[in-house]
């Protein structure tokens, strides 16, 4: 009897305990991002002060920030830099559109038809393994020093991920869904439009995101190798003059163009593929 009472009273009323979460996992995202940036700038400043790298090729962070201001003012006042940015933006947008249309068309051919998969795909893979930048001089000799040759290179570099995304998307429908469409007597066209394309949208959009980044690479490389009046040309000239702060700040502004492209695609994905949960988390990561 007494023994039972002792046992009963030995059990505490509550056994609440806290799970340990390290402080580093509790820091808000913006704080961690800012801390990392400041740390990077401090290290950079020290490298500059100690002259670990020659100041001719590595500017100080302060010089770079000053130049960011100069370039920003030039952009805002609509000076020649804005014109250059506009030219590069046009190349990027046109290149992206061509890459999407071409990539979607070829991706559908490859993903939907046996001919495309068996005959076309091997050639596309072969083309993809080529160093596409090497085609730049060819595009210049075909299309001249204007915007067309840059658009062509941008589209050429960016279209392959769209093909892969589209084709992978068309294969995303599982056996059950295909069977269901068969029982409903759906035609091939209906199965494509009502089942395979919508179900493949998440794949298609990840292809588009890759393309959005690559298309900027293509446009700038095109300007490096084929001249013109775009932002790539400004970078090339600044680098030739060993104006490294200018090179850095131009690259930072150029990366905003890439970010804008990526965000635009991410926004479209959230809008059109609202039903796909992963795409929503990917989206929040991108912000």
């Amino acid at each position: 009897m007494t023994q039972a009472q002792v046992v009963a009273s030995a059990i505490p009323e509550q056994t609440i305990w806290k799970e340990h979460v390290s402080w580093i996992d509790r820091v808000p995202r913006w704080v961690s991002m800012l801390a990392l940036l400041i740390g990077f700038l401090v290290v950079w400043q020290f490298v500059y002060i100690l002259e670990l790298i020659s100041p001719i090729i590595l500017p100080s962070p302060i010089e770079t920030i000053e130049d960011l201001y100069v370039v920003g003012k030039n952009l805002l006042t609509g000076d020649y830099m804005l014109m250059a940015l506009w030219i590069t933006t046009q190349e990027v947008l046109l290149g992206f559109m061509i890459a999407v249309v071409l990539g979607f068309g070829l991706g559908t051919l490859v993903g939907e038809t046996a001919f495309g998969e068996k005959a076309v795909m091997p050639y596309l893979v072969a083309i993809n393994t080529m160093p596409k930048v090497a085609f730049a001089p060819l595009f210049v000799s075909w299309l001249g020093f204007g915007i067309a040759s840059k658009v062509a290179l941008a589209a050429f570099i960016a279209f392959f991920p769209v093909i892969v995304g589209t084709a992978a998307g068309l294969h995303a429908a599982d056996q059950n869904a295909r069977m269901l469409f068969k029982t409903m007597g759906a035609s091939r066209w209906q199965t494509l439009v009502q089942l395979k394309l919508p179900i493949g949208m998440p794949h298609f959009f990840s292809g588009l995101k890759n393309a959005a980044v690559l298309v900027v690479v293509g446009a700038v490389v095109g300007e490096f190798l084929g001249g013109g009046k775009g932002f790539g040309e400004l970078i090339r000239v600044a680098a030739a003059q060993l104006n490294t702060p200018r090179v850095f700040s131009l690259i930072i502004y150029l990366s905003l163009l890439g970010l804008a492209m990526f965000w635009a695609v991410a926004w479209a994905q959230r809008r059109f593929v609202f039903w796909h949960k992963e795409s929503v988390t990917e989206e929040t990561l991108a912000q």
Binding site: D174, N176, A177, M179, L180, F181, K182, T183, M184, G185, A186, Q190, Q194, L195, P198, I199, V273, F274, W275, H276, K277
Partner: protein
Amino acid sequence: MAVLSMAGEAVAPVGLMGRPVYELRGVSKTFTRRNVQALDKVDLVLREGTFSSIIGPSGCGKSTLLKIMAGLLPPSSGSVVLEGKPVMGPRRDIGMMFQQATLFPWRTTIENIVLPIEIRDGKAAARTKHDQARQLLDLVGLRGFESVYPSELSGGMAQRAAICRMLITEPAVLLLDEPFSALDELSRDFMNMELQRICLERNATSCLVTHSIPEAVILSDVVYVMSSRPGRFVEAITVDLPRPRTLDMMSDPRFGALVHRIRSHLDKGAFQ
């Protein structure tokens, strides 16, 4: 479609005397590419308003048989006739349901349900069926869920929506390929009773493929036991439990005897 008239008329004792709806004669299937004989000669007659089950070990060809019945696969020999017309491909008087609900996440529940109509008769025709789809949602206890996306439905709710999608075309026969085997035991029992209620209410002719013996017995008028490959019917067992069946009947000695009889067949097959 007399079959689907909301049955006020004689639902009651489903004798095996009804009008034959489905007739299979000597249906066999050999997959030539893999050189596998999946089905030996199968004869089967489904009568109006009856519920039949095909039970057998995994890979015995029962799903293949159902696909042949549905017009999704051509038979290698034999004939399949539904309502007097040979089955030469998917048909709108056949309703089919699979293990997975397969609702499309970009469509609301009601848009998923009218999808078969949209595929066959276009968007306008699908819109005119919305009222009927709502009635079906009532029937399966999903009232108020029409504009919800499938991601918000539980597994059992999704399967109920799939039932509605199957019924929207008013099929003469229901072909069910392990429709609830992905659900947990409790939901599964519940859904089986719901299925019985729906079939009785509509006097539907149904054929279920399963590998659960109790499920086959509790739902069916006839259970066809299939041997392992090549599949053929070993015995057709008539289940003489009264309708409507209840889950309590599972503890009935008669139920136990039927389960035992079917199990003995399947055990024999397994050790051959």
